[in-house]
């Protein structure tokens, strides 16, 4: 395990903690961005589906534990999203920030739909369409708006770690 992996795990943990532990900091009008999802899509676009799936796995475990839901709920949604966007990343030109934001928006909608479908399967009395429009779409917009900042921050961190890994004594 090189320093890049360690930094990756730490970043996943920090953003997951930020997502679950301090939602009031990020909340606007009751809507919060999904930092875990932004991370998953970032790793799917720049590091492929495998890294994205493991990011989804770690972030999902943490979110399941933090939100006290059945184990696998967040994990499944994030892993599916990460896998799909990881596969798509090879076929998309995603250098422009607007494309990235749009991808995150799409990923957030997909994630929200999957999440609410699972909720609906567990509790059929839930109004699925209403929840998607009231909660998922605004959250997806907010996540899309946060995307350039989060992506820039992650790029800065991993640029430094990539540089450091390239010149480490093991190389």
């Amino acid at each position: 395990m090189n320093i890049n992996h360690i930094i990756w795990i730490i970043i996943v943990l920090i953003l997951s903690v930020l997502q679950t532990g301090w939602p009031d900091i990020l909340r606007i009008q009751g809507v919060t961005p999904d930092l875990g999802l932004i991370m998953v899509i970032y790793f799917a676009l720049f590091y492929g589906e495998e890294r994205a799936m493991f990011t989804g796995l770690f972030a999902g475990i943490y979110q399941d534990i933090a939100s006290n839901t059945a184990l696998g709920h967040h994990i499944l949604c994030l892993v599916i999203t990460g896998f799909i966007f990881g596969k798509l990343s090879g076929r998309l030109i995603s250098e422009h920030p607007a494309i990235k934001s749009a991808l995150v928006f799409g990923g957030a909608v997909l994630h929200g739909i999957l999440f609410n479908i699972i909720v609906y399967l567990q509790d059929p009395y839930t109004n699925l369409i209403y929840v998607i429009f009231i909660n998922t779409v605004p959250s997806a917009f907010y996540s899309a708006l946060m995307t350039p900042f989060v992506f820039w921050l992650l790029q800065q961190i991993f640029r430094f770690t990539d540089f450091f890994s390239a010149y480490s004594p093991g190389k």
Partner: protein, 309 residues
Amino acid sequence: MNTLDTSKAYRSTIIFVVICLLCIISLLRETPSTPIRNFLKQGIYLTTHPLISIKAQTGKFLDYVVAVFFETDYLKNENQTLKEDILRLRLALIEKGERNYQLEKKLKMATLPEEWKSLKLLQANVLETYQGALRIDRGSRDGVSVSQPVVVPEGVVGIIIETSLFSSVVATLHHRECRIGAMIQRERLRPYDGVIYPSGDLRKICTMNYIDIYDKVRVGDYVVTSSESTFPPGLPIGIIQAIHESGTLWKSADITPIVDPYKLDCVFIILDKIDPLNIADFDNAHISEGKIYNEKTESQTPIQELLAP
């Protein structure tokens, strides 16, 4: 393409399928995340405990350093305030103790022996003590005269030997001029001269001389006032400490006075002259454990016999 290459090509798909299957199984079984959360929580507690302890200790140390170096004035003021508080409390304690002593003294004075209630008593405070004498704050203006007996509830103190307008001098049993008519309570035995007087040495004891060699006197017998004295008969004077036989027809006894005059703050002067007709009643008084009891029995003894030495 062999199996290894196939697995490498589809590795991400396999991982995806495995994770998805596990998640679906977990969701179907509704596996709670609480055990993992508890496990992580315990791990976090264990990991962070040393850090939290170090943080607490460091905080205490920094507070101590700040207090030592930057709050010396506060500590000095606090110390001064505490000292003042201690002094005030000590003074209050002394005052309480003195008040308690005064109350105890008043209580003792209020519980006078039954026989004394018919007597006319005058309370006097002791002003000073010197060479076995007491100076009291009552004088001839208050009706005090020479030879009047002075007592306390425990027993005899002495007799008045000098009076002035506002004060008087009491010769106690330690004073060389004190003579008190006495008898031994148990056998109602009187010595030949009928008095006891101070030994004159520093042992603070009195002497009773001229006791007949055949009289039964024991160490520990109570010596009380006799009918010939100016005191009411039966008042405790002292206890026989030693008996000396000189080889003649007489023997003598050393007597330790019951009352220590140097510890007195307040005494009573008996202003009444003792009526010989009441002597029979007083004569029946006896002492037990330092207290006076009076058996009001109808004595058939003639008054001459009662007064005889």
